[in-house]
């Protein structure tokens, strides 16, 4: 069922975007002359719950869709980092929270059709403030501590719509007793 790459060239190679064009032979021998692949590093996100049972949520403007929605902390894995290290670093940098118990909740893909990367979703419980917020120059976000009911209401009202965040949140709600 897999496809064979006959030819490959990079059209765009920038820090935030890498576009590759492949010429492919499909399983039945047909040729697909231009298949675009977007190469990305892996991503991470975190459902972080404080000792008091509050969810550490963020609000951030997202330029491609022109909307500000609620999100869970997330980020990009750096070279040499494990997913867990990246997730802990992003939570600390974006919110100042850390420590607690961590486990991998799920792995999923934003777009397996054309994007190469996976997102690792973690659940962190009993987190606490361990540092001040240290944002990148391009990050502008606010941190909000919400109750479980408030997070469920946001999901119900489509105010959390990033699929890579909705999936682990709903898996978490499904599995908790």
């Amino acid at each position: 069922m897999g496809w064979k790459v006959l030819f490959s060239e990079y059209l765009i190679s920038r820090p935030w975007l890498t576009v590759r064009r492949d010429k492919l032979q499909l399983a039945d021998g047909r040729i697909a002359p231009e298949y675009y692949v977007l190469e990305y590093p892996d991503w991470v996100n975190v459902i972080a719950i404080t000792k008091e049972g509050k969810f550490v949520m963020e609000r951030q403007y997202r330029h491609a869709i022109g909307r500000t929605d609620f999100e869970i902390p997330c980020g990009i894995m750096e070279k040499g980092e494990t997913p867990l290290e990246a997730a802990k670093r992003e939570l600390k940098e974006e919110t100042g929270y850390g420590n607690g118990e961590w486990k991998l909740l799920m792995k999923l893909s934003p777009n397996p059709t054309s994007m190469t990367n996976m997102t690792f979703c973690f659940l962190a419980t009993d987190v606490e403030i361990i540092d001040e917020q240290r944002l990148d120059a391009t990050e502008e976000l606010t941190v909000h501590l919400l109750s479980k009911g408030e997070v469920r209401d946001l999901l119900e009202r489509n105010e959390i719509i990033q699929s890579l965040m909705v999936a682990p949140l709903l898996k978490f709600f499904m599995q908790e007793k």
Binding site: M1, W16, D22, A64, I65, P112, I161
Partner: protein, 192 residues
């Protein structure tokens, strides 16, 4: 929270399958980025399709981005001027030959709001049946099956379904229909 202001844009690539736009943007802090990449996509749709026997219609195909053979629910994109529900019905019929039944809008998600412009509309189609042969596109090589709720849940849990917009709505469905989870049912009501 304030939006970013677009000061300029340039299309780097514009073809049927990929449109790349480079924006010059000014953030509320005053910082100007002269190379913010935006990927323009049409609206996506996908379908949680359940047959009259209560089985879920799922597909299996090779996905070149992740170079993996994945299980999926039926999915596609809206054609020009097409409403999402019409696109969803068309895709289900073309990819699997299933149709009919009762259709409702189930949820909205997006795959990557930082860089991708599109939303994904998920529809729940209950009581579908096989009404024609599939007519797949040139790059589509799709096998399709019907599976039970338990089998579908297993595919979700072991990562054999991996696409974000599919998993988001499938986990919503599983959470809402999980009869073991009394707390969830009390919150959401027994109805989907």
């Amino acid at each position: 929270m304030k939006k970013w202001v677009k000061r300029g844009q340039e299309y780097l690539l514009q073809c049927k399958w990929l449109t790349v736009r480079k924006d010059i943007v000014q953030l509320p802090s005053g910082l100007v980025l002269d190379d913010y990449y935006v990927l323009e996509y049409p609206t996506w749709v996908n379908v949680i399709a359940i047959t009259e026997d209560g089985l879920f219609v799922i597909e299996k195909q090779y996905r070149h981005g992740t170079e993996s053979i994945d299980f999926e629910i039926c999915a596609g994109t809206c054609e020009k001027d097409e409403e999402p529900i019409d696109a969803a019905k068309r895709e289900l019929l073309e990819e699997t030959g299933y149709g009919g039944g009762k259709w409702t809008m189930y949820g909205i998600s997006n795959p990557n709001p930082a860089a991708m412009t599109n939303l994904n509309y998920t529809f729940l189609a209950e009581g579908v049946k096989k009404i024609s042969q599939p007519h797949q596109e040139k790059t589509e090589d799709i096998e399709f099956f019907t599976v039970s709720r338990g089998e579908l849940l297993k595919l979700m849990e072991n990562g054999e379904i991996k696409q974000g917009c599919m998993l988001a709505m499938l986990w919503k469905y599983m959470a809402k229909t999980n009869s073991e989870n009394v707390a969830i049912n009390r919150w959401l009501g027994k109805t989907i």
